[in-house]
Symmetry: C2
Subunit: 211 residues, 2 copies
């Protein structure tokens, strides 16, 4: 067990940023090394290959899901259903802040580095954890969600809409396709869920959801 190395972290963070903005294959290790101010020898001390570095980046995304995606979304509202759409709002922010150039980094990698088994498993893990976060919201919504509704399928559907919406937003360099798709999902939720208001407990005293 090595003591945490700031050099290793710098490599992962730099690679994460470059893979996200340029893609995996379009990013050379030379560029990673220059930006991280690390020598080639050090990189291969920590990672046995470029793919190994990618695996570390994907592990980092697993770690970041809660603090960087779910927590910021969940603190916006206590209503479980609104939380689902707050998660989608996080990705809207990504798009908005970057002029619709950056979307979901996992989605990029999912379509680009399809080949190797280990990598794909790590991508699937990221998707699974993301869906689990959504499913927790659906479970927390209690009887507002029809008991016979497939929560797993619905949480995957939320991911589907996010990824598909992000893709079109980037292709058109416009938030509108994303917003329209999310609005459709919202409409579906409205038709799907019991119209009753959420049960409010004393611990559940958050500002009401917008809209």
């Amino acid at each position: 067990m090595e003591t945490p190395s700031s050099t290793r972290d710098r490599l992962i963070e730099t690679a994460r940023e470059l893979f996200r903005s340029q893609g995996y294959n379009a990013t050379g290790l030379k560029q990673v090394l220059a930006k991280a101010e690390v020598n080639a020898g050090s990189l291969y001390y920590f990672f046995k290959s470029k793919e190994d570095l990618l695996l570390a980046v994907l592990d980092r995304y697993v770690e970041l899901l809660r603090p960087a995606v779910l927590d910021p979304a969940f603190e916006q509202t206590a209503d479980p259903i609104e939380r689902v759409f707050a998660v989608l709002g996080v990705y809207r922010e990504y798009l908005s802040k970057t002029g619709c150039t950056l979307g979901c980094p996992i989605g990029n990698l999912a379509l680009e580095v399809d080949a190797r088994l280990v990598v794909r498993e790590r991508i699937a893990l990221n998707f699974n954890n993301w869906c689990r976060g959504i499913r927790e919201c659906l479970d927390a919504a209690g009887d507002r969600v029809p008991p016979d509704l497939d929560r797993q399928a619905l949480s995957e559907f939320v991911l589907t809409v996010m990824e598909g919406g992000v893709m079109q937003a980037r292709a058109h360099r416009s938030l509108e396709p994303f917003d329209r798709s999310v609005a459709m999902l919202r409409d579906y939720f409205n038709r799907l869920l019991a119209a009753g208001p959420p049960e409010r407990s004393d611990a559940d005293r958050a500002p009401p959801p917008p809209g």
Copy 2:
């Protein structure tokens, strides 16, 4: 205006296949040349750069939309709404035939070669034409589609579900995430559309969601 060159076509088709299965950046021109049995000099006689070849590939996809996607789907059924799902069935076939390794080639490129303006425009054109094909179905459905419903948004939503479903199917190497997302979309359509006579077809392979 040059007379149609089989060499040029061979380059485009070979690049199309390799870009689709390996990605744009992961495919070297050397590999394209070897597979197409063409010399480098010939490639640069027809195309001024690798990106120029990509543009030709994207133009080819524009040409292929009707004959390779819409027509085969539309000939499966005359019902306009069933045709929408038949289009999704075409992509399910792509996934199924390739063990969930190949999905939508435009989606791959949309997330990978995000950079250059001309390329992005060509990708957006492919998406627009695809959505137009869906919108024609919605229009053909007449008063089964509520008149105040945004058909543009709904056609984009169908693309969203296709791309998001394909992405998860490839990540998990399983048709199930795709099927579940399409089933959700079907359920949404059922709730959305006037309860007309949508004859069920064999195109529906996945079990319908509860509700």
